[in-house]
């Protein structure tokens, strides 16, 4: 292996015979090929159209469908597309993680498909969330994914890597989401365009599994291809029992080459919030307090903040209290596993008593799924990752941490959790 490689260059070298160098286009072996209920039916269509009478899969064990956008389907379009996938998968013997499982990218991690050092593709534009466990993930179009399922590989242009160094530590009530918003504020939506990111620093090392997912999930909003967080012992142990195969975590060489280094100091980090309609339009929550912005709905969930740790923040804050009278709090665990932990620990009772609405796992608010959309003029605080116009209905979406979303639910207005 040549010296001086970044993480992505190492993962690619282990999955390709071609010369791995930024700018080179290489054939990349794929460990996992997935499609979700969004675009999945088109993947089926392409597979049938191009390989109708041939074997359609390089390896069925490495191919999965995950349903998460709209689960269970609440409109005919999704219902039909999901059924097209079910029929096809049953006939071909492909695994489907159906409507009960939750967000596909998380399920792939929990079920040991996406492991450190692996390569994963799917029709989900946030599949680069795999960087949270040191795996390369990438969202692609339906034709590309159909090809990947058939060929077991795809082509990819090796991106240059930039380094983002975090100085300082995260102090409560701030969490990984506030750190993430601070990074987006600094990089903006174009700061990592066409690049891989490697995150570094003490605060990064200390990030929990859930915190890593939060940060990696929003690299898309920074314009990046993927953002890697070096796996620590906790991550490696996590996969020891669940990985489907042997895995190798990769770390950058000391003399690896970076196109840019950005240092972000978070010593004075305060709870942050992104204003509608741009994820990089980030300000301190406190700066909005004087405006007394009434909050109609607070959404806790999504692939960014749907882990048990995120749920627990809300549970602790809501204990013995109630959501404000003119506010609805919608809570959606990312996966069955998260929901299972909530049931086991009695959290659902706490949330019920607080008058919070809890739904089955999935993308929900983020994809106009099971917990509904926002109406015109509706102010929603959301722990999701995108607040584009029209994405979650006609309302105004602010992006923030679980603590800030819960504070808003309790106060009925936008308020920093420090000042609750």
């Amino acid at each position: 292996m040549p010296l001086g490689q970044t993480v992505i260059e190492k993962i690619f070298s282990a999955h390709s015979k071609d010369e791995v160098k930024p700018g080179n286009i290489i054939w990349l072996d794929l460990d996992v090929r997935s499609a979700r209920d969004f675009a999945g039916a088109n993947v089926v269509f392409n597979l049938k159209k191009h390989y109708g009478d041939q074997e359609k899969f390089e390896d069925k064990e490495k191919t999965v469908f995950t349903f998460d956008c709209v689960v269970p389907a609440n409109n005919l379009g999704y219902a039909e597309n999901q059924q097209i996938i079910r029929f096809f998968a049953r006939e071909e013997g492909i695994r489907v993680f159906d409507s009960e499982w939750g967000i596909g990218s998380h399920v792939l991690i929990e079920e040991g498909y996406s492991v450190p050092g692996s390569t994963v593709v799917g029709t989900d534009s946030h599949l680069n969330i795999m960087g949270s466990v040191g795996s390369f993930g990438q969202g692609m179009g339906d034709q590309d994914i159909a090809f990947g399922m058939k060929a077991g590989k795809t082509w990819f242009e090796v991106p240059p890597t930039m380094k983002v160094i975090i100085e300082g530590e995260i102090k409560a009530p701030c969490s990984a989401k506030d750190l993430t918003l601070a990074v987006i504020k600094k990089l903006t939506s174009k700061g990592a365009l066409g690049r891989a990111i490697e995150f570094e620093g003490k605060a990064i090392d200390k990030l929990s599994f859930a915190g890593r997912i939060t940060l990696a999930s929003m690299v898309t909003e920074m314009g990046g291809i993927v953002g890697f967080i070096p796996p620590n012992q906790e991550i490696i142990d996590y996969f020891k029992t669940r990985s489907r195969s042997k895995f190798t975590p990769y770390y950058a060489d000391e003399d690896a080459k970076y196109v840019e280094e950005v240092v972000i100091d978070i010593n004075d980090l305060k709870p942050l919030i992104a204003l509608p309609f741009k994820p990089d339009n980030v300000v301190e929550v406190e700066s909005l307090e004087k405006d007394k912005i009434h909050v109609d709905s607070a959404f806790l969930g999504s692939c960014t903040n749907g882990r048990y740790e995120d749920m627990k923040i809300a549970v602790e804050m809501l204990k013995g209290k109630q959501v404000a009278e003119h506010t609805v709090m919608k809570i959606v665990p990312a996966t069955r596993t998260v929901l299972g932990d909530m049931i086991k620990n009695g959290d659902l009772q706490t949330l019920f008593d607080a008058r919070a609405l809890v739904s089955n796992p999935g993308c929900a608010g983020c994809a106009s799924g099971q917990i509904g959309m926002t109406g015109k003029g509706e102010v929603q605080v959301s722990t999701g990752n995108r607040n584009f116009k029209g994405k979650q209905g006609a309302g105004l979406t602010y992006l923030c941490s679980p603590a800030t979303a819960t504070a808003a639910a309790l106060a009925g207005k936008i308020i920093s959790p420090e000042n609750l």
Binding site: I25, I26, H50, Y51, Q143, A146, W155, E157
Partner: protein, 177 residues
């Protein structure tokens, strides 16, 4: 049968009336969204560039075997495959641009359209409309036979050459074991 990696053809250089390169040509200028319902490739050619100032009659100007010479960030914008296919429909052999939009690049490679990256459009002395040029896809050597000049660009990768020989991405996969 393998296709030739040395292509010879007439250059169509996409400059404006002041003979400056036109940068940032987006997919709506290449193939406007009002034609997106068209799925038959044979019908696509007539609309190529029909929303690009100065080049609205491109379909009439283009000849089979032409090689397009383009500016920076060519094909930015949407993911429509028609923005590549409309050129294939007219028999355009290859594209040489200063740079490409990321999705456009993916679509072009997947469709087996040879694309090179080179700054040749900057120099009017190097290339003009209707010059005879020859490009070697493997080595990246671009020869202007009319003006007797050469430019060395980066050759296409093995991946692009593999897909180019197969016709497109899906055909490539059919021949894998």
């Amino acid at each position: 049968m393998k296709k030739s990696v040395i292509l010879k053809g007439r250059a169509l250089v996409i400059r404006n009336e002041k003979t400056e390169p036109i940068d940032d040509i987006d997919t709506d200028m290449i193939f406007h969204n009002k034609y997106l319902h068209i799925t038959d490739i044979n019908e696509m050619g007539q609309y190529a560039f029909d929303n690009l100032d100065g080049w609205k009659d491109f379909a009439k100007k283009a000849k089979i075997g032409d090689i397009l010479v383009l500016g920076a960030n060519f094909g930015s914008g949407s993911s429509r495959q028609q923005a590549v296919d409309c050129f294939s429909a007219l028999g355009v052999q290859a594209l040489i641009a200063k740079s490409y939009g990321a999705i456009y690049k993916r679509n072009a490679i997947n469709a087996g359209m040879p694309i090179l990256q080179a700054d040749v459009i900057d120099e009017i002395k190097f290339i003009e409309n209707k010059d005879e040029i020859e490009v070697n896809l493997e080595t990246g050597l671009i020869k202007n036979l009319t003006k007797n000049k050469e430019h060395k660009a980066k050759g296409m990768s093995n991946v692009q050459i593999d897909i180019y020989h197969s016709g497109n991405l899906f055909e490539y996969a059919k021949n894998l074991k």
